[in-house]
Structures are given as C-alpha cells and as structure tokens.
Subunit: 179 residues, 4 copies
Amino acid sequence: MTVRTPDPDPGWLTNSELASARARLPMVYVEALPVRLDDHGRVVEVGLLYRADEAGNFRYSFVSGRVLYMHSIRETLMTHLEKDLGPLAMPQLPTSLVPFTVAEYFPYASSSGLTDDRQHAVALCYVVPVRGDTQPRQDALDVAWMTPEQALSPEITTEFEGGRGKLVTQAMAWANWGF
Amino acid sequence: MTVRTPDPDPGWLTNSELASARARLPMVYVEALPVRLDDHGRVVEVGLLYRADEAGNFRYSFVSGRVLYMHSIRETLMTHLEKDLGPLAMPQLPTSLVPFTVAEYFPYASSSGLTDDRQHAVALCYVVPVRGDTQPRQDALDVAWMTPEQALSPEITTEFEGGRGKLVTQAMAWANWGF
Amino acid sequence: MTVRTPDPDPGWLTNSELASARARLPMVYVEALPVRLDDHGRVVEVGLLYRADEAGNFRYSFVSGRVLYMHSIRETLMTHLEKDLGPLAMPQLPTSLVPFTVAEYFPYASSSGLTDDRQHAVALCYVVPVRGDTQPRQDALDVAWMTPEQALSPEITTEFEGGRGKLVTQAMAWANWGF
Amino acid sequence: MTVRTPDPDPGWLTNSELASARARLPMVYVEALPVRLDDHGRVVEVGLLYRADEAGNFRYSFVSGRVLYMHSIRETLMTHLEKDLGPLAMPQLPTSLVPFTVAEYFPYASSSGLTDDRQHAVALCYVVPVRGDTQPRQDALDVAWMTPEQALSPEITTEFEGGRGKLVTQAMAWANWGF
C-alpha cells in the first residue's frame, strides 16, 4: 500500500513518459483542506486524510491532485474532492481561485521546507467547506475530522506527508482561527 | 422613501449622538455582494438591491450595514444579509474575513471615487454565495438577479449609489469572472 | 509611562468626546508589521516596537494608529509608520489595501482572543517592508529587529499587547515564511 | 521576429522534448505587471512590454516566464524581470506569493478567455513595483509606461496577446485603482 494517490489517468502520457516529464518539469497540483463551518462561516472542524505509507506508518494528508492537460483548476479540484471524500460530501468550491498559499515541493534541496520525492510540484492550496458526509475512498483509511486546535497541535502537524503541517497553520491563519 | 437603510438600533447611541459621531469619526461598515454559484464555484448570477431614492430614481446597492459596538464582523454580516435578503436566503458567510476590497467613502472631496453624504465610512467588502430564495424586505423594492455580464454593463454600474459600481468590477475581478 | 500611543490629534473631538465615542462605537485602526526583505522578497527580519507598560513590564507591539475623520487608510499608515519608525525608515506602503487579516479587538468578552481595554476596534493589518534606518521615537524604547523564527517563538509571542502575538503568526503565514 | 519569449534554457529538455511535453502537460508560468508607485503605495504608472508579433503587428504583454525544473517562483520572477526590464529596474518582489489572480491559458476551447496556441499554461500573476530605470531588452521594442487609466482603455486592452487585457483589469481592481 502506498501513501501516494495513484494516477489512473496520466493525461495522454504513458507512465514512463510521465516519469520522464516529472524528472524535468514542475508539475501543477491543487490541494484542498476540507473544513466544516458554523452558520457564521467560522471553521469548527478540519478534515484530514489518514492512511498508511509504504512502511506502515499512518500519515495525514490533504486532498490533492495533479492538473491534467486541458483540465481546469476547478475541474481538478472537483474531481479529487469527489474521489477522496466520496460522492456525498457536497464540497463548496471557492468563489475566487486565488489560493490561501502557493506550495512549492522539491524532491531534494527544498528551500520551502516542503518535499515530494517524486517530483518538483507547484500546488495551489484552498480551504474547501464541506456540507455533506465524507466516506473513506478505497486506498484512504479514513477522513479524520478534528478541531482546528487539534489539527494545529505538534502531534498532528509532524505526522503530515512532505512537511504539509505548515499548510494547516497557513490555512488556519488565513481563516482567522484563533490559535 | 429613502435609499438608505434605516438604523433601528444605533448601538447605545441616540440618533443625535450618532449624527454627532458621524461628523467626527469614520464609521465601520460591511458590504456584501450576493452571488449564485454553479457546482464548480463559478459566479453565474449577481444579486443587486434595487430601490427608489428620495427623488424617486431607482438605484442599485449592496447589502450593507454598520458594525455596532461590541458586534463582530460576522454577526453584522449575518444580520444584514438576513434583513436584506429574507430568512430563506441561506447565505454562506466567508471562511476568511479578508475582504476582496476595502472601500473608503467620504462625504466630500473623495479621493477614492466613493461617496456617502452622511459620513466617512470604511467598508469591508465580501462576495457572499446564496443558496436559498431571496425575498425583498420592506423598504427594498427588489433583489435583482442578473448575470455578471449584465451587472458589469455601464447601464447598471452607473446606477449605483455612491460610486459602488466600481465595487462590482472589483468583486468580479477577484472571482476571476471573464469580463 | 504608558504602552499606548498618545492620541495628540483626536480628530475634531475633545478627549472627553473621544472617550464617550469609544464607549459606544467601534474605532477604525491600521496596524503594520515592519519587515526587512532580501532581494527576492523573502522576509529576513521583523521589526517589533518594544516599550514598557504602566506596570514597568516590557511589551512588544505593532505600528498602530487610529483612522481619523476624513483621513485615508494610506495617509494613516504613512503617518504612524513615520511616527513610530522615524523619518529615515523608507517604508514601502502596500500596493493593495487588502489586509493580510482583519483584527477585532474588544474591551471584554472577546471572541477573537484580541483585547483592548480602551475600546472595540477593527484593525486592518499590513506587512510593510522597510528599506531605511529605524529610530526609536520618544515614547518607544526600541524597535527590536529579529528573525521571523525568533518573532514566532513563544517567548516573544506571549509578550505582546492584547494578544497580538497571533497576528505575527498570521503575517508570517501570509508571507509564506517557513515556520 | 516573434512576440514570444525565446526559451534559451529549456530546463534539461531538448526543444523537441519540450514541444512534446507542452502537448501533454500544463506548464507553470509566472507573470508580472510592473508598476510605479507614489510614496503612499498608489499605482501611478503601469509598464507594458510592447513588441511586434510575427505578422508585424504591435502587441502588449506582461513580463512572463516559465518555471523551470528545480527553480523557485521567486527565482523565476527575478530572472524574467531582469531579462525583460534590464539590470537597473530595481523590482520589488512581492512579500507574499499569493497572486492577485491565477490565469489559465489553453491552446483551444478556452473557458477562461485566455489563450496560448503553444500550450496549456497555469500562470501565477503578480503586480511588481519598480523603482529604477527600465531598458528594452533585445527582442522587445519598448517598455511602455502609461497611467492606469490609459492601460485600462479599450484601445490598449484589446491589443494584448492571448486575452491578457483582462489581467490588467484584475491587477488594477486588486490594487484598488479608481476605475
């Protein structure tokens, strides 16, 4: 079992072509942090994907997906929210595509503190309110809902893939959550 | 009939005290542009308040309200969205309180192009998705729903109170609508 | 000696009128966190005002000032940057007036975690790059320059007036500093 | 002569490999609109690149460049600002990497109104204040400085490559310029 999202549709690329491109070009990604809001728009819960990596360690992650050729950012967000949260999640996509942060992942020598040993990736990061029920997809063990305070605790932030714990802090700072 | 929202609760101030303060201090306001989104988060319709001013001319405006003493921005937004759009509108308040713009209104000599002959006001401006039905409140003639293209046309933007047509352009630029 | 900025020009209000208004209306403020940037725009140092409060305890704060009647946000920022950092600081005011956060201060029962026992205040918060030399003004003991890492350490963030340590985290999250 | 920026360093890709990748993967770009500010941070001038396309028509464009493998967004911005504006421009890179908009270019069937017949590109767009002198680089005829009002006029916005006139409106809306 792998902590990585399989890439069933590599977008007109064979797997070997994709691997070759990944060694030579930055890839475009979207990432989404699902949240539950109260009726005044305040974040009351944060949803983290939770699954085992190759070594059997449980790790947290965001909803994440590569932008395929000729696919828009909004389509990509919707596809991966549905894939990772299930068909009943009722995500509310952002009105503005301006992200709360732009995350730069490097396979080595990362100056951003974010790493991805497969590739150099530039990810547009969004907070996405969810109104319905989330269902674990096949290769994710769970969607773990917790308070922002819990999500920001060192026990959680250090258990993220690739340094993404930093992105939780940035998301909650943007949402003005009182940490 | 007046184009202005009456201020039934001046917040521990008599009307004459409020008038006096308005001549000496900037007031804090929130403004909201209601929108309808498609399931990918794109703006498909914009809701404008439509009413007659004292001279009988029909004018467009935003949902708008003064932040009262000890009231939060989120409470103020919710109060005025319910008052202006009715109890069934189901507005989705923003996750982040960072506004799409800060509007500065001056009673005269305005350097921003925005005017309000009652007062100097600083308004935090938000785009608010609405999922339910809107009902005209007592002193508004209508909530006029139209496409972003229509809302951005000169026939509409020049018919706003106080130069607010500029804010429609800023809201749609923020939402990345293709104008 | 007081930790508060004296208000030499209460804007067409006597001190007693201002005190009365402060008990009944939210005040509009701007706050600025001075930073030094490298030539790629990365924050390398953060400047904190450092002074003794009435009890003789040293506290950190931001550049901060009330928006006076008929003064613009940009004028208010410039006035208070010059007053608190001296005439040679060469601050670079933001191109966009969209703040990195909106801070709500309450004199009691604060839901935001931010407090100001004088008043209810709504503050627009900006990060302001400074290129010149800063000089302590009369009633500030110092402008303390430190790394973002130091400014985000609990020893510093807990020594801020009114809970503003939270704003440092929000500013650095916005600036994408790798914490 | 071509309106496109030549790509002297295709980033560990031969030209034919880059052409192949461009037909199968979205490319990551940065775009920058150079501006001159007054001392209060207001935009007073906008700098547009001005050059002839293959048909000999003069067209406007932004500073623009592809993010190469293992290069950061800040490095890419700096490289292309220096290349397009000359070594004396003294650009002030943004403190936050959150762009004013994310532009999606498609080679055909564009839903965003932005087109690029070479590729599908996702561009992070920034406003960059410039303090020094700009010099036309080899293949650009000029850097045309004009007022925001001129840059937003239909005579100018319709003369941009790929629909980028829309981005000028978005940049000026973000900067709160009074249009």
